[in-house]
């Protein structure tokens, strides 16, 4: 197995674990953690393709990963702010209990 393939397999595994976390857990914060894991797995793919791609000096994969890290940080801030706002409204972060569109 080539080094690129092994990095891609690790990224796929982390992505699947993050997806499972986002799908099976009740707590909204855990869902956000799962989404962060999925974004990180995508970043690992970008960096691996940048490293083993034909033109690493063009920095495309590296730049995409850096911008993706910045966007993921913004997403985490907004997501956790939303979780805190919902908790203040409904006194729970349990997603199975949030089944009403109207507060």
């Amino acid at each position: 197995m080539t080094p690129l393939a092994s990095y891609l397999l690790v990224a796929a595994l982390v992505f699947a674990i993050g997806l499972a976390g986002a799908l099976v857990r009740r707590n909204a914060i855990l869902v956000l953690i799962g989404i962060e894991l999925m974004l990180n797995a995508a970043n690992l793919n970008f960096i691996a393709f940048w490293r083993y791609g034909p033109h690493p000096e063009a920095l495309t994969g590296m730049m995409f990963a850096i911008f993706s890290i910045a966007v993921a940080a913004a997403e985490a801030a907004v997501g956790l702010g939303l979780v805190i706002a919902i908790y203040r409204h409904a006194q729970t972060t349990d997603l199975d209990k949030m089944n009403r569109m109207k507060g």
Binding site: T2, V10, A12, R25, I29, N40, L44, G53, L80
Partner: protein, 166 residues
């Protein structure tokens, strides 16, 4: 592949699994920090020093702390009585296993046209800085705007009080 790769990959996957499976939320936050650190080491092992250290700064320094704050502010450290897994957990496990199977099948069945051992790219932080203000200056500005808007938005959303609450 070097033993370092297997060690760091095992640490990353174990951290991610623990973050998804552990019951107390604070333990999940600590486990996901381990996974972020493992991913940063994987970036460093791919000769992407800047991305690796940005990962450590942003994820371990900021996002993990933010998650811990959110857990403590929402009383998430108390264990829920009716379990931590959702009612439809089996469907979630099946979907993610199917996604991993599809991705793994695609990776293992692909014919690689890329060279097996590429030369180590010589990219300094200086090169990245020059590229950021030269070719990628517009995305950089947009990300700056996005971060400002997201920070203000997060504060406004989390600060919102019901009328008559105070």
């Amino acid at each position: 592949m070097s033993p370092v790769f297997y060690l760091v990959s095992a640490m990353t996957v174990a951290g991610a699994l623990a973050a998804v499976l552990l019951k107390p939320l604070v333990h999940c936050a600590l486990a996901v920090t381990v996974a972020f650190a493992g991913l940063a080491f994987l970036f460093l092992s791919l000769d992407a020093q800047f991305a690796g250290f940005a990962q450590i700064l942003v994820y371990i320094g900021a996002v993990a702390i933010l998650i811990v704050f959110a857990i403590l502010l929402t009383k998430g450290s108390e264990l829920p009585r009716d379990g931590v897994f959702s009612r439809s957990w089996l469907a979630g496990v099946v979907i993610s296993a199917a996604v991993f199977a599809a991705l793994g099948w695609a990776i293992l069945r692909s014919a690689w046209t890329l060279p097996h051992e590429a030369a180590v790219p010589v990219v300094t932080v200086h090169d990245i800085g020059v590229a950021l203000v030269d070719r990628y200056v517009l995305p950089l500005e947009i990300v700056a705007l996005l971060l400002t808007a997201a920070t203000i938005g997060a504060v406004i959303v989390a600060m919102h009080e019901k009328e008559g609450a105070k």
